[in-house]
Symmetry: C2
């Protein structure tokens, strides 16, 4: 599939997507150019549009197009409870349970020393300031229940407790080893109620 | 992951890629926006560039940016042999063997009545004209060895033979390097029938 330079460039660009190898990239390029050129152009526009407009919420770090996201601005939310999640997808899973009415802090990652992801990269200092600012009475740690998520929860928990913040963790109703975004909503809801 | 419209649009656009469900699309969008915005812009440009420049070769139907592809224009190739493949990726695999010096006709698909893919969609009429134009002495069918590929080869073979064209098919047989006891029986049976 190398008779055109634009096609090679497209295949290489598709390989930057997570989980996409050279065979998948070839298949995707072939599909788009042969069967869905409209979809290719839609994706092209969506990518440049998202890169141009999507930023991080100044308060919770989730993706938003505004200075502060709509969840953070919602006066109905309970500002005394702050739920810490790894990604917007995890936050979304939590929201779909309908069991949490507080606010969020989205780490946009997890501690991973081997990958060079340290406390600064997950906004730990900002989380500390937020949690000790006076309004927050409880920080609920909802990082994933795998090794890196647990380690991240441990580090945050120690840092917050040393500053006198009341910290809880989602109950272990969530199956160990799984990632939050793939867990069924009822399990997440129960784990929230049983938080320790 | 629904606090921004551009992000939702991006996730929907990523779902148009083959084999990408909503979870994969979310993970891809998150990865690009959080860790590889440069990759997102590169992909955006590659998509619009490819859609704008990549067309089908007027002779063999493969992807090319020129009117006729470089393989078709190569005077070193043996124009008396025409190899029929399903996709540019199959053509590329054939080229990498270094065992074929003729020209190609790329169907850009396979017959699949259930999916509404008929003879017109694989350019059968054009293949007939090419094969009976006087220059081609042998048409080698190299469609895949699955149900649809075999059916496609059968239809093309019948059509060409009725016009007096010499048609051959890649040999079915035991894969090089494999041990007989682990090869499926159908393959062994075919290898026996096609023995040289
Ligand atoms: Zn926010
Ligand atoms: Zn060509």
């Amino acid at each position: 599939m190398s008779t055109t330079n634009s096609l090679d460039v497209l295949i290489q660009a598709l390989r930057r997507l997570p989980g996409v190898g050279v065979k998948s990239a070839q298949r995707m390029a072939f599909h788009l150019l042969q069967h869905d050129r409209e979809g290719a152009l839609a994706l092209s526009r969506a990518l440049s549009e998202a890169v141009g407009t999507v930023h991080h919420c100044a308060r919770c770090h989730t993706f938003t197009e505004a200075e502060v996201c709509s969840t953070c601005l919602d006066p109905e939310r309970d500002a005394t409870r702050l739920c810490v999640v790894e990604t917007p997808a995890d936050q979304s899973a939590m929201e779909r349970t309908g069991a949490f009415k507080g606010l969020y802090f989205v780490l946009m990652g997890r501690l991973s020393p081997l990958d060079g992801v340290g406390p600064k990269d997950i906004g730990l200092q900002k989380l500390m300031e937020r949690a000790t600012g006076g309004e927050v009475q409880e920080v609920i740690l909802a990082t994933n229940f795998n090794a890196e998520g647990e380690a991240t929860a441990h580090v945050i928990s120690e840092a917050l407790k040393s500053r006198g913040v009341h910290v809880t963790r989602l109950a272990r109703g969530v199956p160990v080893g799984s990632e939050l975004e793939y867990v069924d909503l009822g399990t997440i809801a129960h784990a929230l109620v049983d938080r320790r």
